[in-house]
């Protein structure tokens, strides 16, 4: 690391310990889902969806780079669902926003 950047990062990187300090008193915990998750059972070639005019070049999307493969999602839909899950190439995957 360069001198300049090492000076920048003198700040304490103490997060590993702190991550697991969960304060349940200020957590809002429910035993039921707050949003309806999106169970993905089928997918479509994005190029064809673009050609059909269902999206355009600038439509915001999310790209999941999972070990099972790459899959995209329409961001405005995931903002509502928050969580999507499914199976690809025999492997389970999940995304959450």
């Amino acid at each position: 690391m360069s001198k300049v950047s090492s000076e920048i990062y003198q700040q304490n990187n103490q997060s590993k310990k702190s991550i697991n300090k969960f304060d349940v008193s200020r957590a809002m915990l429910r035993d039921k889902d707050l949003f309806s998750s999106f169970h993905v059972k089928s997918t479509y070639p994005l190029r064809k969806v673009l050609d059909r005019g269902e999206v355009n070049d600038t439509t915001p999307i999310l790209v999941m780079n999972h070990k099972a493969g790459t899959l995209t999602f329409l961001k405005h839909q995931i903002v509502s669902h928050h969580l999507a899950y499914g199976e690809m190439a025999g492997q389970q995957w999940m995304i959450i926003l």
Binding site: Q11, V63, N65, T72, V79, Y85
Partner: protein
């Protein structure tokens, strides 16, 4: 993420709030999980770590440039009200006028890190040992691209001019400069139209560290004491 715990697939849902962020819960054990790190924070599986992968923000053109054959998952389960709300929320998400979510979110937050404003936008990048936040404001001052070091590897942090969304990839370049909409690296590589090309013009697959396009409060409360990039 991979929703598999000890070899068994678990079903997850959004089942809580903590630090102003959603918490995942699993149906099988009732445990609660951090949605950014994949770590189990509370419940029988506390301490377990889900396998995580990058979830990148971009636009359709960028994604097709990188993965021409990629598929998209389209939900048919959203009602009219949800679709309407989403059409408002997506632009608002990045807006400088964004208001903090309802009071109930704030009630779940711990002591905030005041080095940046709560709703400041940036790119959070993390590895096993390093957690670093790049404010969009700083990235803008660096003309939308900078090269940094992350655990002895160089990373290029840039804002794509076509989507205005920040991202980070590993690189061996030491300098970068924009020429119109092309980002030229001193190792001969070029970013063009959301795609990385080598010096011979052959398309390359960019390797990304874990990252999240996020508000400051979300990243700094998830990774307390995180490093803050300062130009």
């Amino acid at each position: 993420m991979t929703p598999v715990v000890n070899g068994k697939t678990h079903r997850f849902g959004v089942r809580g709030l903590y630090n102003g962020l959603v918490l995942m819960g699993d149906y099988e054990t009732g445990s609660y999980w951090d949605h950014i790190t994949g770590a189990c924070l509370h419940g029988p599986l506390k301490g377990y770590q889900l396998e995580i992968f990058p979830l990148l923000h971009m636009n359709v053109a960028q994604s097709l440039a990188q993965w021409p054959e990629v598929h998209v998952a389209i939900s048919s389960e959203l009602n009219l009200m949800q679709r309407l709300l989403a059409s408002i929320m997506v632009p608002l998400y990045r807006s400088k006028w964004a208001i903090f979510p309802p009071v109930v979110f704030k009630m779940t937050m711990g002591k905030e890190d005041t080095r940046r404003k709560r709703m400041d936008f940036g790119l959070g990048v993390w590895t096993e040992t390093t957690h670093r936040y790049y404010p969009l404001e700083i990235l803008g001052k660096m003309r939308g691209a900078l090269i940094d070091e992350l655990d002895d590897r160089r990373v290029l942090v840039y804002t794509d001019p076509t989507s205005n969304i920040p991202a980070a990839i590993y690189t061996d370049a030491t300098q970068s400069a924009w020429h119109n909409d092309e980002l030229k690296l001193d190792n001969g590589e070029i970013f063009r139209g959301g795609k990385l090309y080598n010096a011979q013009g052959v398309a390359q697959t960019a390797v990304c560290p874990m990252q999240i396009h996020t508000r400051w409060y979300g990243f700094s409360l998830t990774f307390p004491g995180c490093q803050l990039y300062q130009a």
